[in-house]
């Protein structure tokens, strides 16, 4: 694949993402329409008169034809206007802007944890397939997938953060150091359920790579040690997990929503949960959009990464 080919590949995938994004927007917009309850009533509060309600409807553009409302919605989204929270005190875009870094840091730290845990255990397990370590790791992994993330979170809070005092019990930090410290336990709770998935994929990749002819050929050609592991095992074993990247990310995102509420991290997931609990339409709508766009983007990055790692992938 030439550089030019890759460029076009990325471009084409970007173009393909556009209709998907539009449909997503339409769906997110449609959410508001199918929700039981009158958004105007929500805004006006219980004591509003009929006239006030009508005025609010006009103000919100709810009296216009649906397609026009959608066009307006697109326009507002394009300018970053996602409305305000139900109490009216905060813009949804502000909420997203302040929550995004938190969620991103959480995802980044748990990705590091996940990769390190999965990588180490996969290498250990693949050393002797069906050996003691492999079986043991498989059992632990089964537990890891089965442990409810939120439960692990509260157990970590009560069982680790409280007695050691080394981590904040809920909440976020304001300096890089405190932020990282606040991210450790939530990221760990998150990784425990995701790492086994990556581990299994990596492990089978490693086993497969070790059994491969090119691995033998490389050894025969005198390649050994870390070079052998890195270039003839890990790099090849990374291809299947990277193609899982999008799936893993959605799993991580799902987990982040849970973990953020367990640990009280002011990220997008906590906002989503609280909006669902408080029935805050605009917030749900805005966050759904952000999350799904993020997944579209991750899918895109995943495809490109696979193409970079595995030159055989047709572009």
């Amino acid at each position: 694949m030439t550089g030019r080919g890759r460029f076009w590949f990325v471009g084409r995938r970007l173009l393909q993402a556009i209709p998907l994004t539009l449909v997503l927007l339409l769906l997110v917009f449609a959410m508001l329409k199918v929700v039981p309850g009158d958004p105007a009533l929500q805004v006006a509060g219980p004591r509003a008169s009929a006239a006030t309600l009508q005025a609010i409807r006009v103000h919100l553009g709810l009296d216009q034809p649906v397609w026009l409302q959608f066009v307006h919605y697109l326009g507002r989204v394009a300018t970053g206007d996602l409305g305000t929270t139900a109490t009216g005190s905060t813009k949804v875009s502000t909420l997203i802007a302040s929550g995004t870094p938190v969620t991103l840091v959480l995802l980044a730290v748990s990705t590091v944890f996940t990769v390190v845990i999965a990588g180490a255990t996969a290498l250990l397990a693949a050393r002797r397939p069906d050996g003691l370590a492999d079986r043991l790791i498989n059992v632990v992994a089964a537990f890891g997938v089965g442990v409810p993330t939120f439960w692990l979170g509260i157990v970590l809070l009560a069982g680790v953060a409280l007695p050691t005092g080394a981590f904040p019990i809920g909440g976020w930090g304001d300096t890089p150091a405190t932020v990282l410290r606040a991210a450790v336990l939530p990221a760990l709770a998150l990784s425990v359920s995701v790492a086994p998935v990556l581990m299994a994929s990596l492990r089978s990749g490693i086993v497969e790579a070790r059994r491969s002819e090119y691995h033998a050929a490389a050894q025969a050609a005198g390649v050994r040690g870390w070079t052998l592991t890195r270039r003839f095992v890990l790099r090849n074993a990374a291809v299947p997990p990277v193609s899982l990247l999008a799936a893993l990310t959605t799993l991580l995102l799902s987990g982040a929503v849970v973990v953020e509420s367990t640990f009280g991290l002011p990220g997008l997931g906590l906002s989503l949960t609280q909006a669902a609990q408080n029935r805050d339409f605009n917030v749900i709508q805005g966050l759904t959009l952000v999350f799904s766009l993020a997944v579209v983007a991750v899918n895109l990055v995943g495809d490109v990464l696979v193409a970079l790692l595995d030159p055989r992938v047709e572009v």
């Binding site: 039981p36 309850g37 009533l41 929500q42 509060g45 219980p46 004591r47 929270t85 109490t87 005190s89 905060t90 502000t94 909420l95 302040s98 929550g99 938190v102 509260i154 809070l157 009560a158 953060a161 409280l162 005092g165 904040p168 019990i169 809920g170 909440g171 976020w172 304001d174 509420s261 367990t262 640990f263 009280g264 991290l265 002011p266 906590l270 906002s271 609280q274 609990q277 408080n278 029935r279």
Partner: protein, 516 residues
């Protein structure tokens, strides 16, 4: 969020007025265990975010606590809630008709930017309050405010009003520098300047998980007394109360605002500060439903409720209700005969029903609240004793609200508190919102309401309230369950903290025992 009351109700209107409140809350001071903290920073946990940085938007418990810290008030609540005391105003007087108030300002009050608090600033603030979009209505009697000199403010009212001094202790009565120190309001409220004990430093992640950092205001009028005692106040908001408890137990929080019984019971007694209960939790019965149209059933339900048992689950934070109205609000008097738990009487009433069909009722409540859930479960068990089968319908607050409004439930648990310092406010609420839902006969309620709000005589007011309570009991469409406190958790090394029944406390008086 409450179901029927405006959330603002929670603020329970300050204090108001002498004579009514009695001593409340735990005694000041630590437990004497000798515990110390390494730094002189007060870290506060709460579950409700502030409503913004302007007094006008002050609405919920977060702002009620934070606004006075930043801005200060002309008058403040006495620590025991028994009346008002000087704040930025050293004293005030009013003319015989109560239409013109004169405030004499302290000379040592200063904003956090170093400028002194002058009459001009206060007069400007009065206008801002009156013109506020959200809370302006409270101040609609203010005609004008002027500053004849640096330390005097004269306020002219459109009508007589003796409620103004109490109003000035509210979180909406925030003292601003004149003309917002030359800034646009939006700009000013991103980094506000106030005359309270603490100066604004930062507000991170505004919203349910926000952190607000304040530091000592050296120009605070209490500086001469050494107030405020702590260097920094850091307020951490988290929706998860259980997690906040862990943080408190782990020494990461020094103070928790809004402690529930479940949480408080996890703490040593001396760490929980519980003021007098001042919020009513009532059971509403929909008499438009065929079964509930029979007053005998409604009365039977009331008699079958063991309020003592309901309260015992939240030992110390909740007391059995004697009537349907919030207690510890001025002019709140109990009904002639308080509720009694009498199963035999309840069964007798059940037998007197015109129609002897088995009774199955739905009960709506906000499922997210653990105390409500517990209470609903107990109610179901208790009503089963008289053969009333209750189906629990937990839901989120909005659904409870919309379905409650459309009458989808037979019964609804709802909270009632004052949003201004008179019991007639919650009464107006019952009249406007609850009576239509319950289908009660509100003729007497209306009459007594008018009677009570046109007199200045406390005895007349009290009599009207008693009649209303008695009427509610007779109709049994609104049945009082319990009265609740909102409490605080206070670490051993925190001294000088006094809880009032109104969610507010004087942060300037709080001390931290440090190692030195």
């Amino acid at each position: 969020m409450n179901t029927w009351t405006k959330p603002a109700a929670a603020l329970a209107a300050a204090a108001l007025v002498a004579g009514c409140g009695s001593g409340t809350g735990g005694a000041a001071g630590g437990s004497g265990t000798g515990a110390v903290k390494a730094d002189n920073d007060l870290v506060i946990g709460r579950t409700v975010a502030v409503d913004g940085m302007s007094g006008d938007s002050c609405y919920g418990a977060g702002s009620i606590s934070t606004m006075p810290m930043i801005y200060g008030n002309l008058l403040t609540n006495k620590p025991d809630g028994s009346g008002v005391q000087p704040g930025i105003a050293a004293s005030y007087d009013y003319d015989a008709s109560a239409r013109t108030y004169t405030f004499h300002l302290r000379e040592d009050a200063g904003f956090s930017d170093g400028s002194p608090v002058t009459g001009k600033d206060v007069a400007f603030s009065f206008e801002q309050w009156r013109d506020g979009k959200t809370s302006g209505a409270y101040y609609d009697m203010v005609k004008s405010a002027e500053a004849p000199d640096e330390h005097t403010v004269v306020v002219h009212l459109t009508r007589p009003d003796t409620f103004l001094p109490a109003l000035l202790t509210w979180c909406t009565s925030t003292v601003y520098p004149h003309d917002y120190a030359g800034k646009k309001p939006e700009e000013f409220f991103t980094k506000p300047i106030g005359a309270g004990p603490f100066a604004f430093v930062s507000w991170q992640n505004p919203g349910p998980s926000e952190t607000i950092t304040l530091k000592k205001n050296p120009h605070y009028y209490g500086a001469a007394k050494g107030e405020p005692h702590v260097d920094t106040v850091i307020t951490k908001t988290s929706a998860d109360a259980a997690q906040q408890m862990l943080a408190f137990q782990g020494g990461q929080l020094d103070l928790i605002e809004g402690l529930t019984a479940d949480e408080g019971n996890q703490l040593p007694a001396e760490q929980a500060r519980i003021p007098k209960p001042s919020q009513a939790r009532d059971l509403m019965l929909n008499s438009k439903r065929p079964a509930l149209a029979d007053v005998n059933l409604r009365k039977a339900i009331s008699a079958a409720i063991d309020r003592q048992a309901l309260a015992s689950v939240q030992q110390g934070y909740v007391v059995p209700a004697t009537g349907m109205l919030p207690t510890n609000v001025p002019n709140s008097v109990p009904p002639t005969t308080p509720y009694t738990f009498d199963l035999a009487a309840a069964k007798a009433l059940m037998a007197k029903r015109a129609d002897q069909k088995p009774v199955t009722l739905t009960l709506g409540f906000e499922g997210a609240s653990s105390t409500l859930t517990t209470m609903a479960q107990l109610l179901r068990d208790q009503l089963a004793q008289i053969g009333v089968d209750v189906t629990l319908k937990p839901s989120d607050s909005a659904t409870v609200y919309s379905q409650g409004q459309s009458g989808d439930y037979d019964m609804l648990i709802s909270d009632l508190s004052a949003i201004s310092p008179t019991v007639f406010d919650p009464i107006s609420f019952v009249l406007a919102a609850w009576s239509p839902w319950t289908g009660a006969d509100s003729a007497l309620l209306k009459e007594k309401f008018t009677e009570g709000t046109t007199t200045t005589e406390d005895s007349v007011k009290d009599a009207a309230v008693r009649a209303i309570q008695d009427d509610a009991q007779a109709q049994s469409t609104v049945i009082g369950l319990v009265n609740m406190s909102t409490a605080f958790a206070v670490a051993d090394y925190v001294e000088g903290f006094t809880a009032t029944p109104f969610l507010s406390y004087d942060a300037a008086a709080v001390r931290i025992r440090t190692g030195s």
